[in-house]
Amino acid sequence: MLQTPESRGLPVPQAEGEKDGGHDGETRAPTASQERPKEELGAGREEGAAEPALTRKGARALAVKALARRRAYRRLNRTVAELVQFLLVKDKKKSPITRSEMVKYVIGDLKALFPDIIARAAEHLRYVFGFELKQFDRKHHTYILINKLKPLEEEEEEDLGGDGPRLGLLMMILGLIYMRGNSAREAQVWEMLRRLGMQPSKYHFLFGYPKRLIMEDFVQQRYLSYRRVPHTSPPEYEFSWGPRSNLEISKMKVLGFVAKLHKKEPQHWPVQYREALADEADRARAKARAEASMRARASARAGIHLW
């Protein structure tokens, strides 16, 4: 099952890059007999052993114990590794992870060793991936991962991709929708894609299947809304900004993006510019209101610390 050489074992916390020299990752060899690779039962007398039981039976018992200890250690290592993977996958979904989930899915009956396991997992997460495992809520034992790598500049972020290309495509679509008066027919969106060199249903190495990305991902994530245009037959559909786009980006920003694309100023489109200005004013007002009410609530609350 496991193909990896297990002699490496876990790096000891605080000693990054250091390797244990022990067989199967054991850092300590309690008896001389265990430093030999001979595990066969009935190994007989061990030279130089300080152990009292030098009979065949005694040596066999020691060997069995040693094997069991090694197995337990391997199992512990594996559990730590599984917990690390579990935490990484869970964190991707951006939901805090509870201790009971960890016990249920990964730790199982090693529950008593939870503090040790989670400490090792945390060290791996820190050293290998640059994440800090933080206890988010002491009462409910929930954890999150915080990225300890330095935050990226905006242009660095774009370069490094991730969601970059997809969000770039989304921006193009939001721009198209905005410039066409806040809604764009489905056909117009596919037309724009074709001009960008993409076929809606053909696999693209950056976007996968663009049509799927747009119709499913973006719509499901509420970046776009997809509606039937009334009184059209055969039925036609249109896209407009979804509620999440309204939250995460502003008309002014999108207009700025479109303007840059065309190497012009936002004011070049007076209608859209006026609309964007009005939108900015609305947002400023909403923000001021929200801040005021938050301050009021904070002073009334009995200091609950989240982090």
Partner: protein
């Protein structure tokens, strides 16, 4: 035995950022991986010389070993593009998916996987998969819902869809090859050339051996009379072109095809 001569690598923020981003994507093509590597250096260690990709990845893998994961390199079955993914070394079934999907969804994947492995072409039709919806473990799933779940698999790069049929994404093959070979030892097909798991490929009509399309391309490259390596009979299929990264980028869009690409010049 005791100490191994290979030293465990050292992680810096360059490597950590690289790992984080590779994990975000799930799977990446080689040109994208190189680009990513360069940018990680640019962000975290501007003046350092960029390691050769192979060394860079080997360094990281030596650190990942104790976590039973590694960055694995593979090749897409349809046109031989090199891809990289972070995979589990311990075969615990569909482990990476297990935390992302519900029990019935995982079972749907398993059913699709079985159909794909059993099929002659490496593709399972949407209809055939959906017909198994009643047999799923866990919460009852309607066909409409199952269609969405299949799309989720496509989005997360576990399956590829072409014209209503599904096959395994390169990522799934990278991640699950060992699990598949252990779970379906009789049904599994392997490539006569590289001996890896084969889902899509060409087969000899006489003796039945199979080869991956990129393996066919390499093996028969500039061979005027391609013959089966096993039974020496004439190889009846179109020989695809060997993947050339320079050419790929110019055209801009990948062209995945069930059949091999262009016919050879004679």
């Amino acid at each position: 035995m005791q100490s191994s001569t290979k030293r465990m690598g050292v992680m810096t923020d360059v490597h950590r950022r690289f790992l984080q981003l590779l994990m975000t994507h799930g799977v990446l093509e080689e040109w994208d991986v190189k680009r990513l590597q360069r940018h990680c250096y640019k962000v975290h260690d501007r003046n350092a010389t960029v390691d050769k990709l192979e060394d860079f990845i080997n360094n990281i893998n030596s650190v990942l070993e104790s976590l039973y994961i590694e960055i694995k390199r593979g090749v897409t079955e349809d046109d031989g593009r090199p891809i990289y993914a972070l995979v589990n070394l311990a075969t615990t079934s569909v482990s990476k998916m297990a935390t992302d999907f519900a029990e019935n969804e995982l079972d749907l994947f398993r059913k699709a996987l079985e159909l794909i492995i059993d099929s002659e072409t490496g593709f399972a039709s949407s209809t055939n998969i959906l017909n198994l919806v009643d047999q799923l473990k866990g919460k009852k799933m309607k066909k409409k819902e199952a269609e969405q779940v299949l799309q989720k698999f496509v989005q997360n790069k576990w399956l590829i869809e072409k014209e209503g049929e599904f096959t395994l994404h390169g990522r799934a093959i990278l991640e699950m090859e060992q699990y598949i070979r252990e779970t379906y030892p009789d049904a599994v097909k392997t490539c006569n050339i590289c001996h890896s798991l084969l889902i899509q490929g060409q087969s000899c009509e006489t003796c039945g051996i199979r080869m991956h399309l990129p393996c066919v391309a390499k093996y028969f490259q500039s061979n005027a009379e391609p013959r089966c390596p096993h039974c020496n009979d004439y190889w009846p299929h179109e020989i695809p072109e060997v993947f050339d990264p320079e050419k790929e980028r110019e055209s801009g869009i990948s062209k995945p095809n069930k059949k091999p690409l262009r016919s050879r010049q004679r």
